[in-house]
Amino acid sequence: MLLRNTYNEFIKIVSKPRSFLGFGALTILISLIIFAMKMDGETIVSFITASFEQTLSFNGKIVNGNLIAFIILQMLVVHIPLLVALVTGDLISGEAAMGTIRMLASKPISRTKIVFSKFLAGAIYTLLLTIWLGILSLVVSHLVFGSGDLIVLNSDGLVILQEADILWRFGLGFCVAFLALLTVATLSICFSAFAENSIGPIVATMAVIIVFTIIGSLDVTVFDSIKPYLFTTHMASWRSFFEDPIPFESIYQSIIVLIIHIVLLVLITIFKFNKKDITS
């Protein structure tokens, strides 16, 4: 019953035009980035190496598919949560707004399972969006620019990773990025359980992300104690796979924090939805 309901929920997602907005937006954005890098990639990359190039000379193919994929991921990781929340923030509140929640709750399935099926459908949508991001950023970039070593700029300096040592990092990076987006999806589903319209949960989710990101990026000691508990701090941990050596301990920590967020948010959603007085 859970799987059947999940399937139904996914069909509902697919039948809404807004669900394709994310795919369309990603396609346009990534195409624009690839076009810009093709036209002026060398200049853009020189910003990264400028202070080093006074003394050193970088030889080899710096602008390549791996670098473009990395840049795309870094640029879009801020925007993709909006595309996810646009769909998942509507999953419960959309039913309330359309007046179908009463019918949904009267089906021979527990409210907990309804929440689970919505969560699973949202997770599948998020996974598809992540895969689409991966295909566009990695596959298309490689087709246009070819492969090569990856030059990554961290706060500690430059890391140059050899071509043969990159693909698995992207694979694991996408897995962690998916987990981060799933946290956003769960947060918006949770907000959705509290709301009666679609706009509220979407805006609330983005507001939380913006506030937490600002707190995380402020280099002020007063926030240092809360930063490790903000899920936005761990959303960028996919980037850690491109460090050398890889800080696996901090990645595991990020994965645990994200999973705890997901579990807690699902539990809150279940609790709220079970207690919800359905009047619409």
């Binding site: 910003f47 990264i48 400028a50 202070s51 080093f52 190039e53 006074q54 003394t55 050193l56 000379s57 970088f58 030889n59 080899g60 193919k61 710096i62 870094q74 090569g148 070593d149 030059i151 700029l153 961290n154 706060s155 500690d156 300096g157 430059l158 890391v159 140059i160 050899q162 071509e163 990101t213 995380g216 990026s217 280099d219 000691t221 240092d224 930063k227 701090t233 761990h234 960028a236 941990s237 980037r239 850690s240 050398d244 901090s250």
Partner: protein
């Protein structure tokens, strides 16, 4: 009169030593000029603060007078200066004055310092120092100070091509004090300033091991214009 004699003596000694230093440089130049072009396999190992890169194998092409190209499959970092500048500079005697300095033993080799001072102040090179193995007439160590790139120290080790003055290992010492990471590009929000490792090293090294020289094979100029 006494003062005049002393001045004359100083002038004569400087002039003689400059001639001798020039003769040494002539010797080095003649070896260098005999190599019209070469291709060599190189292993580049960089140990530079703020940059992490694995050693890489490349192919280096050189053709007189200053055509130089590195062919590599991956990204490699090499010093911006130090490959051809010194030889080009010392090849034109009218541009500098060479003066002998003190002796220095590098490893087991007794070398003599030659200070090379540009005659014009408009050029990029401010001062060049070379420590020459007087027996084999090869440069064992060089220090070039330029307006654009500061000071670059290079240590040379020679192998089977010592007779041609071509080194088997070149070790560059790089000044990294100017290196800065642009904050806006390094989006690493997870790390606070307290957690960021402070870079205390001010020098880095790039070691280039050269092997399999192919000398005077008549390299085509197109090699130097072709992109990797």
């Amino acid at each position: 009169m006494k003062k005049l004699v002393v001045q004359l003596l100083i002038f004569t000694s400087v002039s003689v030593s400059a001639q001798t230093a020039n003769a040494v440089i002539d010797n080095i130049n003649s070896k260098y000029n005999a190599v019209k072009d070469y291709t060599v396999n190189a292993n580049i190992k960089a140990d530079i603060p703020m940059i992490k890169i694995l050693p890489n194998n490349v192919k280096i092409y050189f053709k007189q007078k200053d055509k130089f190209k590195i062919e590599s499959k991956g990204i490699v970092i090499v010093p911006k200066q130090g490959f051809t500048e010194l030889n080009n500079f010392i090849s034109n005697k009218s541009k500098y004055t060479a003066v002998f300095g003190e002796y220095l033993t590098i490893g087991n080799v007794k070398t003599r310092l030659i200070n090379i001072i540009p005659n014009e102040s408009s050029g990029d090179i401010v001062l060049a120092k070379i420590w020459v193995d007087m027996a084999k007439m090869v440069i064992m160590k060089s220090q070039i100070t330029t307006v654009s790139n500061g000071t670059v120290n290079v240590d040379y080790t020679y192998g089977d091509q010592v007779s041609r003055g071509l080194p088997s290992v070149m070790k560059f010492e790089i000044d990294v004090k100017k290196f800065k990471v642009p904050k806006s590009v390094a989006a690493d929000i997870n790390k606070s300033s307290a957690s960021k490792k402070k870079n205390t090293k001010t020098k880095g090294t790039i070691t280039i091991s050269l092997s399999g020289y192919k000398i005077n094979s008549g390299l085509n100029d197109k090699i130097f214009t072709k992109k990797n």
